[in-house]
Point group: C2
Chain length 133, copies 2
DNA sequence: CTAGGTGCAAATTTTTTGCACATGC
DNA sequence: GCATGTGCAAAAAATTTGCACCTAG
């Protein structure tokens, strides 16, 4: 039985896990979440499917945080906040960031490159970690 | 004999290599640059010293690009451009990016966090890689 | 049957670390 | 001599990959 998206059961489960969390998880985290539900799942499969999602444009990498690559299925560009202590990642509402759509052209002109994308990340302390200080 | 900064000869050489390039290099790149000049140098020493510079606030990490961490000794915050094909990193003049210094407070308020830092990265194709397409 | 998906473990790659030795003061 | 720095190689950690099997259509 496959989903409407024609994903295998496991691929669909991995995608849903990624899509239904706001933790911007690592492969390991997705794997731990799904292990109770899908005892046969293997970590390599999670890695492989996350790569598939990236290629299909269904997910993007937020980069390596504390040694692990983190993923996001919210494809609309928006800034992120990363806690330097617990490495939680939160979405920052769009609007805090680059406002002008002509900026890609300006930067491209200025640097002699073709800008296709950008990302904005704020760093600091999340509320839980602030309390502990 | 040590430098005015009281660095060991090798530490100073590693720092100068980092400070005098605009390639935003990886540890490996610094190591390869210095090997002819310092045949006894070991890669572990480069990694250790780059960590030291980060702790001292003399360098910062630009994150992991194509599997390797990249470093920058220009501490003034400024955006970067990363080529998705050859992974070259270029500085983007400050001014292309977040203009308002109160933004940290706004984001902090909005998200319930303490913002201490940010980074802006543009992605696309550098001029060499554009020519090859 | 065929193509795509998966488990498993080994391999790869980058970075870190332990420890003995070296160096500068 | 002492504290710091370093070479070397092993270890650690994350990710990728080869290959046999398995499952859906």
């Amino acid at each position: 039985m496959q989903s409407k998206r024609n994903f295998s059961v496991k691929r669909e489960a991995i995608f849903q896990t990624l899509a239904n969390t706001d933790t911007h998880p690592s492969a390991e985290w997705v794997y731990e979440q799904l292990k109770p539900e899908l005892p046969g799942l293997s970590l390599g499969t999670v890695y492989r499917n996350l790569s598939v999602f990236k290629e299909m444009g269904l997910a993007k990498s937020l980069g390596v945080v504390n040694g692990q690559e983190r993923f996001d299925a919210r494809m609309a560009p928006h800034p992120h906040f990363i806690c330097r202590k617990c490495f939680a990642i939160r979405d920052v509402p769009k609007g805090y960031g680059i406002p002008d759509s002509k900026l890609y052209d300006s930067v491209g002109m200025e640097c002699g490159v073709k800008v296709e994308n950008h990302c904005i990340t704020f760093y600091g302390l999340c509320s839980s970690c602030m309390d502990e200080e």
